[in-house]
Subunit: 399 residues, 2 copies
């Protein structure tokens, strides 16, 4: 199979970007990626664009945004499609981009993910995300993603003895990283004392869905991120001399039952495990080879659970790693060096692309001061769709 | 590149299916395709599912339908993504399915397109489709697809002298074909006299957007269609002994400016021409090799214009072919043997898949009585997104 390199990256700040429309912010990240790749002028060498987005129709009353983006940044007649896979749309679009190159249908592909979610707020944002669930067996009963995450967290706490304070330590670590990331939506530190120590904190750290509090979940964000891929054997690689390519070494995807009540053990995230196994297999690597990882912590419990399913830690033991600081920058296996979804934000379609953007930053040694992992070789990103229905794992490496 | 065969096909009736939800009808077509392929029991050999859909979020308040479909028909842990490219979503999903196999990431792929559009009716259906347009430069000025098609038709009439009666002859032909198609939404014949000849007809054939009348455009339909693909070199081909595979010989896609006013000549459909050129090139074929074609006649003028852009007829001359009956079944180059979007219907996400379903029916010699083309070798489908913004052409052949 052809080797595919990431040769350009772009990102908007995540947060409230409501003064822009969806295609605006996708064009900002895309233009950034073209600049980073050094091909703004020769941009017509892009053969194919994949856009990752979930809510354009519902939230922004717009469809066919792949064509719109292509036209906005003057890439016609490049082929263009939008890929949707809930919160894992970004990694799915990257998978399609990788595939188009591997198949020889394209040499240069742009993958841009974006979402303008804050077009709706409060319960409407929660309702939007709940459209991922089964419309009759789950949605109609008022189930939401925070509700599922709360039940999952409670079960995990009961089975493994995880405490609320240990859970909050994941958020503390993520914010410590996020404050150093110029793109983060919530760029400030928090402390365990701040979260739990005062009566003020109890107000800020509101209970959302018992046992989940505000600091156990990600914000509702707008934002976009973009990647440029090129076949390493393509003559077009001559355009990408600016920076060494980061190689996509493994991509694995898998689905699990749409309804969580159909799973034998609701704490088992089979699609995470299988997607990682598939990515490891393609890469010829195992969990011990991974230098750092971006794991989909839409709820902080997921950082723990995913880190176990992909084989970094034994079941129930990831909290020890957090307590010991192993997953902090400077630790043995830094996780969510970007701040994660928790501190960086989670514009659905952008997230999977943004995770790989972070892998590239780290592998290039370009992360901001205090965020750079020491000499990373292989980075892994897990992009988690639905409540584990559809998961995509990507492994990127230095060439 | 690996050769890819279509080994199973499924289709629901197109029409008003409002008693079912979107994933219901997609599961019907998918189950049909699994049965046709003879793998209902061994269905877990499907590695990847691509769903084509545009309006699930807006119209059906549901997202992540690829995961939902996979789970509904018990295909976990197959990989799954939804592909959206406006009215060309179906062919785009097929393109992604073809690519996944060509790249070696999958051996067996299911491509299912579906739409429940009649969840909205009247102006809301027109408004839904108008979300394909530019949100500021077009949509905000009240422009709709019928409005664009009307301007396009008027310009074509002025430039080439096409008459309203000649245009209506396309609809008459399409309905003659559609009445023999058990899946057609509007399965009855119409005559020029019926359309124009009486005062009753003038009422039925209402003016929608001058010069377009009701019989110049497709209905708003619900429906789904499904295809199963397999690499011809895969060991899994042993499961598909029931029927000889139809080969996907060429796929080409291209974009044009999102806004029509940015085109030098609004009658030129560059993306149609380029997508066809790319498909011909991959297939090693030219227009003269094509035995029959499904062309995206959401507005009947498009059947004429597309048939010229892909090289079947000279500019302005396709109407002569219609008048002479060359594009009827039994003619030299039958077009829209299924009834086309005009008579069969146009559930956005399903259409591109349904077009290729028809290619397979014809190439297998399985079309219903009176619809079968004599000994076809190569069939072509053109799936037209936006108003020519994003077009995908597929060429299928007997093995």
């Amino acid at each position: 199979m052809r080797k595919v390199g990431i040769v350009g990256i772009g990102h908007t700040v995540f947060g409230n970007l409501s003064e822009f429309d969806l295609v605006d912010i996708m064009s900002f990240a895309s233009a950034d990626a073209l600049d980073d790749a050094g091909i703004r002028k020769e941009r017509k060498i892009v053969d194919q664009v994949f856009v990752a987005n979930v809510g354009a129709g519902m939230l922004n009353h717009q469809t066919a945004i792949a064509s719109s983006l292509v036209s906005r940044i003057d890439l016609e007649p490049a082929m263009a499609e939008t890929v949707e896979n809930g919160p894992a749309s970004g990694a799915s679009a990257l998978k399609c981009g990788y595939t188009a190159i591997a198949a020889g249908l394209a040499d240069v592909v742009m993958v841009t993910g974006g979402e303008v979610m804050r077009a709706v707020t409060g319960w409407k944002a929660t309702d939007f995300v709940a459209t991922l669930l089964h419309p009759e067996a789950e949605y109609n009963y008022g189930l939401t993603l925070p509700a599922f995450a709360a039940m999952f967290t409670r079960l995990y706490m009961e089975r493994y003895g995880l405490t609320e304070e240990e859970l909050a330590m994941v958020a503390v670590k993520d914010h410590d990283n996020g404050i150093k990331n110029p793109y983060a939506h919530v760029p400030y530190t928090c402390t365990l004392e701040g979260i739990y120590g005062s009566s003020d904190a109890q107000v800020v750290n509101n209970l959302i869905a018992d046992p989940l509090r505000l600091y156990n979940m990600c914000p509702v964000s707008d934002g976009a991120a973009s990647l440029i891929l090129c076949a390493l054997d393509s003559a077009k690689m001559k355009h990408f001399k600016k920076k060494p390519p980061v190689v996509i070494r493994g991509i694995g995807a898998a689905t699990d039952t749409h309804c969580i009540h159909h799973r034998e053990d609701p704490l088992e995230l089979k699609a995470v495990r299988l997607s990682a196994e598939r990515a490891y297999k393609m890469a010829g690597l195992g969990p011990k080879d991974i230098s750092f990882a971006e794991l989909h912590d839409a709820f902080v419990i997921l950082e723990l659970a995913i880190s176990e399913e992909v084989g970094f830690f034994k079941k129930g033991k990831s909290r020890d790693a957090v307590v010991q600081g192993l997953t902090r920058i400077g630790g043995k296996l830094p996780i969510n060096t970007s701040g994660g979804l928790k501190a960086k934000g989670h514009p659905l379609g952008a997230t999977g692309v943004s995770q790989v953007f972070e892998l590239v930053k780290q592998l290039r040694g370009e992360a901001e001061e205090g965020r750079q992992v020491g000499n990373p070789i292989h980075g892994m990103a897990v992009n988690f769709g639905g409540f584990g229905n559809n998961v995509v794992t990507t492994i990127c490496s230095k060439e």
